[in-house]
């Protein structure tokens, strides 16, 4: 009997045999690179009897659905490390998945392959879920190493202990993950130990209590005051983490208040001042003297540079607690920093929390909390698979969002021109048909061979079929994110039936698809949930394309200039409000419109590369993909694709994420991002 690659250690007993059989019947999969990609590649995970989980912690199968890029395999190895044993890998035409162990079952990338692979996996679980000896797995992205840094100058990093070249302080050690060092996205959560969730995974076996040693830095201890740098211990790595000093917070507000002759003030209300002790008229707290403030005030904070004794800095810690330096007005005196008396070898602001927090982002709401960088990708349920997203959270509101894609790299330089359509189609699992059509159009523009009108409408119908399928796929993801499980199942089923259907089949399924669109519009509270989320005005819509732009009322659609579509009677649809609800309405309307266009075209044909192709030439084509206009520039040299430049809607849409989600509640931010329907594949090709 073969043993699972992720078997659990333990002698095989009767009870364990029973448990193994139960596991075989209760397979829960974490889908890589994502449910949307799996659906687009023809897999219906639920219909195969596999339960899809939201977190690797609850899964016992890692389903790798089709080829993935090396960056995604690395992220998948982190997911694998987080899954509890016994666990297994099912790979469907995934290619080389090292450093993941060899798959326990494999198959072709189709529903049949998935079902057959699951049957194999069930047998493997019954026989090999437990083993006397099991192999360890260490995700390379999670291996950590020690480096040394200066508590005051996070940019100073050294491999060995020593002193900071800027201030002469002793460097302190900290742990960094291998992935973080390589600057790999998606694992930002690792660096530093606040790390948390998601990818913090590890083989965190019950016994691995060695980690407890880090506990010292997880609370806020170490932040009060700066006497004693042990507090820093390097563990809170974050150069851009303004959180360090919040504990001392308000009690030190006074230190920063504007200079006035008054000498007593309320710890909570810096605007309350008095020249004698007493209690605050607003909150009743005892007023505190602000003598210390005066002392430092005159010299500006420049004086900090010269402090020899750390003891005095208890009060300075309060500057961090302030959080927003603009908020209280009166910080103009900081200007004094410029004239700091320079001490040789020591930077101005040395040891000053003003210096440490200056220029750091702070919460606009004035509350100071520890900020967390949390990864919401590349495999986050409810967001497109492969989309790298890191949100910096201040409580549960988003202060920063970083989006990245997992590009598949440029085509090989000696790519034969006639292979270009296949190569481009393989770039994006979410819109292969549109990219194939685009490549063929570009080749036609090089060769000057135009398809006949009938062929052109049939090819347009193929693009429209993909648009309907793509919008249904998006709808299933949105349903996942909003908790509408019936809609997820229904949209996924309709998507599977449609993605490769002929015109007759589509005509037969069209009523069900239209009915679904109607039912979505009538879903109670859905409008309430989406209205006003991620609103883009017409003025903010410049440069963006596709349904997102049309939802703001901007009639930009590459199909409007296409003679094939003119023949089919195409007219651009738009919405007005520009929010997530408008984007949903727009896509639902486009589903209906595309079904009409397919019915009028009457036939569906996939494009072929034109022949004969000239050996040299320059061509360009653009096409309205399901997500907006894509453009392809192509230069042929000696019969191969010399230069290929593809512009997809991703960059313009991804640029919306950061301004759109700023200060949004987490769930709403994720809804807003999902409503953009980002396709992270096939960028930069």
């Amino acid at each position: 009997m073969t043993v699972l690659s992720g078997a659990r250690e333990g002698a095989i007993t009767g009870l364990r045999g029973l448990i193994a059989r139960a596991m075989a019947r209760d397979l829960c999969a974490f889908v890589v690179p994502g449910a949307d990609v799996a659906r687009a590649r023809g897999l219906d995970v639920g219909a195969a009897g596999l339960h899809r989980t939201d977190t690797p912690r609850h899964a016992n199968v890692l389903l790798v659905a089709g080829p993935v890029t090396p960056a995604l395999v690395e992220a998948a190895s982190v997911v694998w490390a987080q899954m509890p044993r016994p666990r297994a890998i099912l790979a469907l035409e995934a290619g080389d998945i090292a450093p993941l162990p060899a798959p326990d079952a494999a198959g072709v990338l189709a529903q049949d392959g998935l079902v057959a692979g699951l049957a194999d996996l069930r047998r493997a679980f019954v026989g090999g879920a437990f083993a006397e000896q099991v192999a360890d797995f260490e995700a390379p992205a999670l291996t950590t190493q020690i480096e040394y840094t200066c508590p005051m100058h996070p940019e100073v990093i050294s491999d060995e202990p020593g002193k900071c070249p800027k201030c002469g302080m002793v460097l302190v050690e900290r742990e960094v993950s291998g992935a973080a060092q390589k600057g790999h996205e998606g694992h930002e959560g690792h660096e530093g130990h606040e790390g948390h969730e998601g990818h913090e995974g590890h083989e965190g076996h019950e016994g691995h209590e060695g980690h407890e040693g880090h506990e010292g830095h997880e609370g806020h201890e170490g932040h009060e005051g700066h006497e004693g740098h042990e507090g820093h211990e390097g563990h809170e790595k974050s150069p851009e983490r303004p959180a360090q000093a919040e504990n001392t917070g308000h009690s030190a507000h006074a230190v920063h208040a504007p200079e006035q002759p008054a000498t007593y003030t309320c710890p909570m209300h810096p605007e309350v001042t008095s020249d004698r002790p007493g209690s605050c008229p607003k909150c009743g707290m005892d007023l505190v003297p602000r003598g210390q403030a005066g002392e430092h005030g005159d010299g500006g904070h420049s004086g900090h540079g010269g402090h020899g004794s750390h003891a005095g800095h208890g009060s300075h810690a309060g500057h961090g607690g302030h959080g927003d330096h603009g908020g209280h007005g009166g910080h103009e005196e900081h200007g004094g920093h410029g004239s700091a008396p320079d001490i040789p070898g020591i930077e101005p602001h040395f040891m000053s929390m003003v210096g440490l927090t200056e220029g750091k982002p702070v919460s606009p709401d004035g509350l100071v909390m520890e900020w967390i960088d949390a990864p919401f990708g590349p495999f986050f349920p409810g967001l497109p698979g492969g989309l790298g997203l890191t949100l910096t959270l201040d409580g549960d509101s988003v202060v920063r969002a970083a989006v990245s894609s997992h590009a598949s790299g440029p085509p090989a330089p000696d790519l034969a021109a006639k292979d270009l359509p296949d190569r481009l189609a393989a770039l994006s699992p979410l819109a292969p048909g549109a990219l194939r059509e685009l490549a063929c159009r570009a080749l036609e523009s090089v060769s000057g061979i135009a398809p006949g009108p009938d062929a052109a409408t049939a090819r347009a119908a193929a693009v429209e079929r993909e648009r309907v399928a793509s919008h249904l796929n998006w709808l299933a993801d949105l349903a996942r994110q909003t908790g509408l499980s019936w809609l997820e199942r229904r949209a996924a089923a309709l998507h599977q039936g449609l993605r490769a259907a002929g015109t007759d089949e589509i005509a037969r399924r069209a009523p069900a698809i239209r009915a679904l669109a109607g039912r979505v519009r009538r879903t109670p509270l859905l409008r309430d949930k989406l209205a006003g989320i991620g609103r883009i005005g017409t003025s903010g819509a410049e440069g963006i394309v596709g349904p997102v732009a049309r939802a703001t009322g901007l009639a930009t659609d590459a199909r409007a200039d296409d003679p094939a579509y003119a023949e089919l009677g195409f007219a651009t649809l738009t919405q007005t409000s520009g929010d997530a609800w408008a984007r949903l309405s727009q896509r639902l309307a486009e589903i209906g419109q595309s079904l009409d266009l397919i019915a009028r075209a009457g036939a569906i044909a996939l494009p072929e590369a034109p022949a004969p192709l000239p050996r040299d030439g320059h061509g360009m084509a653009s096409l309205e993909t399901p997500r907006g206009k894509a453009t392809l520039h192509l230069i042929l040299k000696d019969g191969s694709a010399g230069t290929v430049h593809l512009t997809t809607p991703f960059a313009a849409l991804a640029a919306l994420v950061e301004p759109m989600t700023r200060q949004m509640e987490l769930a709403e931010a994720l809804t807003a991002i999902a409503s953009l329907d980002l396709d992270p594949w096939g960028v930069d090709a």
Partner: protein, 299 residues
């Protein structure tokens, strides 16, 4: 004896609720599934996240289970078939359910993970929304019964069930109960697609099994409370009392598990706003109306 019987009924109830939940989530009805899932879960490795708050991490699921069991203690299955017939039963139920909040925050804080922590704090916000709405409708129920004893409350509905007598209170109580048990569409702390499991995200193996069992106990307890307060408990013709309670409880639980899945997850601020601005006003109106009716009409 009655303790054993009630616990047995509770176990069966939890199992049936798990069957219904599997049906609602996966769209497949299977009587075996919960048993298989539970067994599979027990065989899985228990992973301890890095640098957890060990005390909170371990206590969370157990405290949740204790809170659920305590609230079951005051729900009568039939006359005399109750773990403890406290004179302040309705109040005790509230007190026990208050620990649900503590357990979720512990489970959110304990694992030292972002998703879990956001989930835990989200539940704190959710608590602020449902807290008043679980208490105020019970006030009106107790006014009619002139007692806080759950047995007395059932007996007070002999002529007319409270669901007809005070429908506003019923609706408010059910919405609040969905919040307590974080059932869709108010499953903010776990939020499938938007928080990747939330407070549950870091639990595996037996700890997760305890957690899920505790959640089922709470759902059954809240369904039982709804039946006791609004559907006349064991009252009904032909069948023995315990059978009526069991039937009604399972029916209410099935409704609570399935209906909400046709709605999108609520926005937290919207839930809070509606609960306070509309819910509390309605709850006060309900208390007033019930008071007037109780004075004027002797039923």
């Amino acid at each position: 004896m009655s303790i054993v019987l009630v616990l047995l009924a509770l176990a069966i109830g939890c199992y049936l609720v798990a069957v219904f939940e599997g049906w609602a989530v996966h769209g497949r009805f299977s009587l075996m599934r919960p048993a298989i899932s539970a067994l599979a879960l027990l065989g899985r490795e228990q992973i301890l996240p890095r640098t957890p708050d060990r005390l909170f991490f371990e206590t969370g699921p157990i405290l949740l289970l204790v809170a659920g069991l305590l609230s079951v203690a005051v729900i009568p299955l039939a006359p005399g078939l109750i773990i403890t017939d406290l004179a302040i039963g309705a109040l005790f139920l509230n007190a026990a359910l208050a620990y649900v909040l503590v357990a979720l925050i512990m489970a959110g804080w304990g694992p030292n993970g972002a998703y879990a922590m956001v989930g835990g704090w989200r539940f704190l916000g959710q608590f602020i929304a449902y807290a008043m709405l679980i208490v105020m409708p019970i006030t009106a129920v107790a006014m009619r019964a002139e007692s806080l004893s759950t047995t007395q409350i059932v007996l007070s509905q002999a002529a007319l069930w409270n669901v007809v007598y005070q429908p506003i209170g019923f609706v408010l109580f059910v919405i609040a109960a969905l919040g307590v048990a974080w059932l869709p569409p108010i499953d903010l702390p776990t939020g499938g697609g938007d928080l990747a499991g939330g407070v549950e995200a870091e639990y595996t193996g037996a700890r997760l099994a305890v957690w899920r069992l505790a959640r089922l106990v709470i759902v059954v307890a809240l369904s039982g409370a709804t039946v006791t307060f609004y559907f006349g408990g064991w009252l009904g013709p032909w069948l023995p009392g315990w059978a009526w309670t069991a039937l009604k409880t399972v029916a209410v639980a099935a409704a609570m598990l399935t209906l909400g899945r046709h709605l999108p997850r609520l926005r937290e601020e919207r839930y809070l706003a509606v609960s306070w601005k509309l819910g509390i006003s309605l709850a006060l109106a309900n208390i007033f109306l019930v008071g007037v009716i109780a004075l004027l009409v002797p039923i």
